[in-house]
């Protein structure tokens, strides 16, 4: 019997579900190797109960409904895979806001709208609620990493994810360094690789979409950006777009 898997989306842009559909060359092989029994984004007939070998979950948890959902997914799955930076780190919706959250909501929706009745909370990574067995970061996750992860999981192995920063891949591609040679605020040194240094390869400074490497030296990179005459608040804003909740945690740890 083919292993049963589920694909779920919480609050996000659907990037990972689209990324899965973007594995055009492997999609039929994947469908051949696994039984996708619960995938609301792709099918109108779904089995929302049965035991799953792997659940791939996109998006952050932003309300009580989603919290219940992720707990239920955890319960029925042997492995929970957080797909994309929203699921892994909170993602863009959890970035630093210019003011306190109620104020932000008010500025977007007005002060006396129907929002009072809405079930809305801050965006949190899955790991704030349940155990996550594997994180495939990226905004969106790379299709190649998804396919590699599926193939390792089918072999019973935990997929190997990069643990090194974007600079390593950037250097492998022999790009001119945007941070050192051009003085641009490139987050490559503290950002998890796996994208093959997409942005620097296009002369664009890395914006950290894959989240921080485990021992990201934020203090040092902030100082180095500071040396490039960037205003302090802008440095923080730039470095905290995709993984603010996780960075907060690292900073608490010291």
């Amino acid at each position: 019997m083919k292993p049963k898997i589920g694909i779920f989306g919480l609050s996000g842009c659907w990037g990972e579900q689209i990324a899965i559909l973007n594995c055009e060359d492997q999609l039929l092989d994947i469908i051949g190797a696994v039984d996708i029994v619960d995938f609301l984004g792709g099918s109108s007939v779904n089995d929302a109960e049965s035991r799953l070998l792997v659940s791939f979950v996109e998006g952050s948890v932003a309300n009580a409904r989603e919290e219940a959902k992720i707990r239920q997914i955890r319960e029925r799955s042997d492995l929970v895979v957080a797909c994309g930076s929203c699921a892994c780190f909170g993602g863009v919706s959890a970035m630093d806001a210019p003011f306190e959250r109620p104020k932000v909501i008010e500025t977007v929706y007005g002060s006396n709208g129907p929002i009072k009745s809405w079930d809305i909370g801050p965006h949190r990574p899955l790991s704030d609620f349940v155990k996550v067995d594997l994180a495939i970061p990226g905004c969106p996750m790379e299709t190649t990493e998804f396919v590699r992860a599926v193939s390792a999981l089918l072999n019973g192995d935990m997929p190997l994810m990069p643990t090194y920063p974007v600079c390593l891949e950037c250097k492998m591609k022999e790009n001119e360094c945007l941070l050192v040679q051009r003085g641009l605020p490139c987050a490559g040194p503290v950002t998890m690789a796996g994208c093959d240094a997409r942005c620097p390869s296009h002369n664009i400074a890395c914006i950290g979409c894959r989240g921080p490497v485990e021992e990201a030296n934020m203090a040092s990179i902030e100082q180095i950006f500071g040396d490039k005459e960037l205003p302090k608040e802008q440095i923080k804003l730039k470095l905290r777009v995709f993984a603010a909740p996780v960075l907060d945690r690292t900073e608490e740890r010291g």
Binding site: L168, K171, E176, Q181, P189, A219
Partner: protein, 351 residues
């Protein structure tokens, strides 16, 4: 060694015979930097380049390489044929040739020679040229500013001509193939060479003292300067990626979907990365970033000396160019010798 000369204006013609010996890679411009790449026209080749972003090691020990593929039914198929394609590497600076000679020591001459490296090294014609040092080069201090082997041909600028050192019989084949371009060098040419060699030697802006460095490194093993460097280091690994004598690699297996057929891949790794000495169960022999920064310099300037009689650093200046945190061979040696107060927090060396 056979020593000839060739008029500079004949270089284009000389270049035209090279493709017969392999796919030609030469220094060309990329952004403000330079890379060894296949030039689309010879006019793109920059004889005056400072240093390439990656050293020639990228061609001999590629960043990511499939060593062999495997199939449960068919066993292993190695990738040596791919590694044996002839290449002409034109325009290599002496320190980079020195870098290759150091890689030879580890990859070709030590116990368990590496067949992939050797296949590539054998398939690669190396044509060296001399260079004008900038403020980041310290090849002079590292005794890597002149090489006596490791190349097939070496070109030295002596004004209107190049002095042509022919290092191997394959190099001589190229000379023969280029017809009557080469002429015997004269006394006057040698004199000119010596004059320029002197000027070159004196033109290094950066001078580092290696004499008792291994001993000083031992003395400073527990020094606080490593903590300072460790606090700044981003563990970005740039320094090791661009280093001509850093050769650590990682090995991973990749499989096809729903199958155990696949490939074994080795890719560049770095001792500055957290996982370099991490073993199962979570023990990490170099947990602190400072211990990793220290290890890198210790290995190059102390360990390699003990093992091979010289440091593995060749003074190319690449880590000086790339480190966002100003941790490089110059700042480290000067700090460790107590000749500078660590690194400043203002603009890095290459603004």
């Amino acid at each position: 060694m056979k020593i000839l000369k060739m008029a500079k204006h004949d270089l284009d013609f000389f270049a035209s015979v090279l493709p017969a010996f392999g796919e030609v890679y030469a220094p060309v411009q990329r952004g403000k930097g330079f890379v060894f790449d296949k030039p689309s026209a010879w006019s793109e080749v920059r004889m005056d380049y400072t240093r390439t972003i990656l050293p020639p090691k990228k061609l001999l020990l590629p960043p990511r390489e499939t060593t062999f593929s495997f199939d449960p039914d068919q066993g292993f198929t190695d990738n040596l044929a791919e590694a044996s394609k002839p290449v002409v590497l034109f325009g290599v600076h002496p320190y980079d040739i020195y870098g290759l000679n150091i890689l030879d020591r580890v990859y070709a001459e030590a116990k368990f020679p590496d067949p992939y490296y050797i296949a590539r090294r054998r398939a690669t014609v190396v044509i060296g040229i001399d260079f004008v040092p900038d403020d980041k080069h310290c090849a002079g201090s590292m005794n890597a500013d002149f090489v006596d082997h490791g190349f097939d041909i070496f070109l030295s600028d002596i004004g209107d001509d190049y002095l042509v050192l022919v290092g191997t019989s394959r190099g001589d084949d190229i000379v023969v193939k280029s017809g009557c371009l080469m002429q015997p060098a004269t006394e006057a040419d040698f004199a000119e060479y010596k004059k320029r060699s002197r000027i070159r030697r004196d033109s290094y802006k950066t001078k580092l003292e290696l004499g008792d460095l291994p001993e000083i490194l031992e003395m400073e093993y527990n020094s606080k300067v490593w903590d300072d460097f460790g606090a700044r280091c981003l563990s970005c690994s740039s320094c090791s990626m661009v280093c001509p004598t850093c050769y650590c690699f990682d090995v991973t297996d990749e499989t096809e979907l729903g199958n155990r057929a696949g490939r074994r891949i080795r890719s560049w790794d770095s001792c500055l990365l957290r996982t370099h000495a991490l073993v199962a169960g979570g023990e990490n022999f170099r947990e602190e970033r400072s211990s990793r920064v220290k290890f890198r310099f210790y290995h190059k300037q102390r360990g390699f000396v003990a093992e091979y009689g010289r440091p593995s650093c060749v003074g190319c200046g690449r880590c000086v160019e790339v480190c966002p945190a100003e941790i490089n061979i110059i700042t480290v040696i000067e700090t460790i010798r107590g000749e500078r107060d660590g690194i400043s927090s203002s603009a890095p060396a290459s603004a």
